[in-house]
C-alpha cells in the first residue's frame, strides 16, 4: 500500500505537487494519470525518498521507503528505462542491484527470463532498444518480489505485443494481491490496464476514481436515433425539455429522453428503429476535459477540440 498525505513539493515559487492525498490499494492496478508536467514523476520520486517533500509525507506500507530494511523487497520500481550504464550488461546491472538487498543471482536469471531478455542478458545494454530498456527496468522492479510495484511510464516505447504483455503482467501481479501503481500520460494506454485511476493536473488531485465510476462519467446525455419514419418519431418525442437536433435526413440527436423511452415510443407508434445509440464519450475525452485546465504546454488547436 502506498499512502500519500498532504504531499507538496515546491520549486521556488512553482508548486510541482500541491497538497496531494491518495491511497494506492493492494490487489488492483491503479493508473496514475496526468498531462506532461502534472507532477507524476515528482510524486513518485518522493514516494521513493529521492526528493524531499516540502511538506506532507509519502509512505510505503506505513513507513517511508528509506526506512525499510531491504527497500527492493518492499517496493520495486521503474523510474527511467535508460538508467543503466550503457556498457554494463543487463545481467551485471541486475546483479549489482540484487546484492544490495540480499537477492540471489538465481532470482536475477528468473526475472530476466520473465521479461524475455535472457538471451541478451550478457550483452552491453547500450545496444538495447527502448522497449528492451523498459523490459530491463521492469525486471529490476520485480527483482525483490515486492509487495508494491511502481512503474513510471512503463509502456513508453513498447510495441503492441509488449503492451499486451505488460498489461497481463501487471494484472497478474495485482491478482497476487500486490499493489500496482503505474503512471502514464495517455488514458488510452491505461484504460485497459487499470481498475482505479488517480488523475492529477498541475500537481493537484483531480480525480481519485474507480474505472466503473470514470466510465459513468463518460456516459453522455444524448442519443443518436435512426428510424424509418423519422419525422413521425420526432413528433412523438417532442415534449417539454426535449432537445432534438437533426444530423442528416435520416438521423437525429435527442437530449432529454432516455433510449428506453425512445424505444417504447417507436414501438407504440409502429415505427421501425434502425439504430439507437446512447452517446458515449471515450475515457480519453473525459480525461482530456478533466485535465484541460491544467495542461501546461499545449497547442491551441487540440485544446479547442478537448473543450
Amino acid at each position: 500500500m502506498i499512502q500519500v498525505t498532504d504531499l507538496t513539493k515546491a520549486y521556488g515559487e512553482t508548486l510541482a505537487v500541491d497538497q496531494l492525498n491518495f491511497t494506492i490499494k493492494p490487489g488492483i492496478v491503479t493508473g496514475f494519470l496526468g498531462p506532461n508536467g502534472a507532477g507524476k514523476s515528482t510524486t513518485m520520486r518522493m514516494i521513493l525518498g529521492l526528493d524531499a517533500p516540502t511538506s506532507g509525507s509519502a509512505t510505503v506500507g506505513g513507513r517511508p521507503l528509506a526506512e525499510h530494511d531491504q527497500p527492493l523487497k518492499s517496493l520495486g520500481f521503474l523510474l527511467e528505462a535508460g538508467a543503466v550504464h550503457p556498457t554494463r550488461s543487463a545481467h551485471d546491472h541486475l546483479r549489482a542491484l540484487a546484492v544490495t538487498n540480499g537477492i540471489s543471482t538465481a532470482r536475477v536469471d528468473h526475472v530476466l527470463q520473465l521479461v524475455g531478455l535472457s538471451e541478451v542478458a550478457k550483452r552491453r545494454s547500450g545496444g538495447f532498444s527502448l522497449g528492451m530498456g523498459q523490459r530491463l527496468g521492469i525486471a529490476a522492479a520485480l527483482l525483490g518480489d515486492p509487495e508494491v510495484v511502481m512503474l513510471d511510464e512503463p509502456v513508453n516505447g513498447l510495441d503492441p505485443e509488449g503492451i499486451l504483455w505488460i498489461r497481463h503482467l501487471l494484472q497478474n501481479l495485482a491478482n497476487e494481491g500486490r499493489t500496482v501503481f503505474v503512471s502514464s500520460h495517455l488514458m488510452s494506454e491505461m484504460e485497459l490496464m487499470a481498475e482505479h485511476f488517480v488523475i492529477i493536473g498541475q500537481g493537484r488531485l483531480i480525480q481519485d476514481i474507480s474505472a466503473p465510476d470514470l466510465r459513468a462519467m463518460a456516459a453522455g446525455d444524448s442519443t443518436t436515433v435512426r428510424a424509418d419514419r423519422l419525422d413521425d418519431l420526432v413528433g412523438l418525442m417532442q415534449n417539454d425539455g426535449v432537445e432534438i437536433t437533426s444530423t442528416d435526413r435520416s438521423t437525429v440527436s435527442v437530449k432529454g429522453v432516455t433510449p428506453d423511452q425512445i424505444g417504447r415510443l417507436a414501438r407504440d407508434g409502429g415505427i421501425a428503429l434502425h439504430s439507437l445509440v446512447p452517446e458515449q464519450r471515450s475515457l480519453e475525452d473525459v480525461f482530456m476535459s478533466l485535465t484541460a485546465d491544467s495542461v501546461q504546454y499545449h497547442g491551441s488547436a487540440p485544446l479547442e477540440m478537448a473543450a
Binding site: R88, L97, E119, P160
Partner: protein, 307 residues
Amino acid sequence: MITPLSPASKAIPTESQTAPTLLKDNPMTTITASPTPSVQDSSVIKTKRSSTGKVRTRNVIQSEWIKFWSVRSNYLTLLAAGFATVAFGMIFSAVASDGQAPGPAAFLTNPVDVALGGVGLAEMIIGVVGVMVVASEYSTGLIRTSFATVGRRGRVIRAKVAVVGSSVFAVAGVAVTAAVIAGQAVYAGTEATVPVTDVLDVIFGTTYYLTGIALIGVALGFILRSTAAGIGTLVGAVFIGPNLLNLLPDSITDYFLKYLPSEAGSAILTQVTTPDQLSLGAGYLVFTAWVVGLLACAGALVQRRDA
C-alpha cells in the same frame, strides 16, 4: 529483418484470458530479445523469497564492486594509467641516463623521481576514473536507483570510496613499484641503482597520492553530478590551477600554494623536497584533509539535495 506477426499479436483486441496461453504457444519475437514467457506462469513471478535481513555496507560494497568491474572502460582506463606510469618512467629514465634533463634540474638528481615521471599523466587518468564512476550514474539516472535500493545514501558514497580506493590502490601500487624497478633498470646503464626496499616510502606515498586523487574525483562526481564539470574541475583546479598560480610572485603564493592538493601531494611522492614544499608528515596530513574534506562535503550535499 522484418518480424513476422504471430497469432498472438492478432489476439490483442480480445481481452480474453486465453491470450497469455496464445503467447506461450506462439512465442513472439521482439527485435533481438528472446520469446516472452507467459506471465500466467506465476511460478516465474513468485520465486522463493530470498533471505530477509538488512542492507549492510558490505552488500553495497559488493554491488559497487560488480558495477566497477563490469564496465570495461573502468579497468581499461586503470590499466592505461598503470601502463603510462611504467612506460613514461622508462622513457624518462632512458632520456635521463643520456644526461638530458626531461624537467627541472633537481628532477635529474634522483633516479627514483625520474622513474616516477609518468605519475603526472597517471594521476589525471586515475582522477578521471574517479569522476566517471560517479558522474556516469548521474548522467544515466542510475544514481536514483542506487539510492532508492539501499535506503541510506551515505552507504553508496562509502561503498564507492571503498571500491575505487582499493582498486586504484592495488593497481597503482603495482604500477609504481614496476615503474621504479623498470626505470632503474633502464637508468642502470650509467648510474648506480637504488634498491626498491630503500624507496618503499616513495612507492607508498605515490600510491597513496594516486588513490587520494581518485577519491577526489569521486567526491567531485558527487558534488558536481556531471562528467564534464567533474573532469573540468579536477584538471583545472587540481592539476593546472597550481601551475598557473606558480606564475604569481612568491610573496603571494608562499602562503597558500603548498597547501593545495597537488602541492601537498608532491611532498609525499618525492625524496627530494624543496624548501617551498611541506614536510613529509605535513604533506600527508594536508593531502588527506583535502580528500576527506571533499568527501565529507560530497556526503553533506548528497544528503541534502534531491536525487
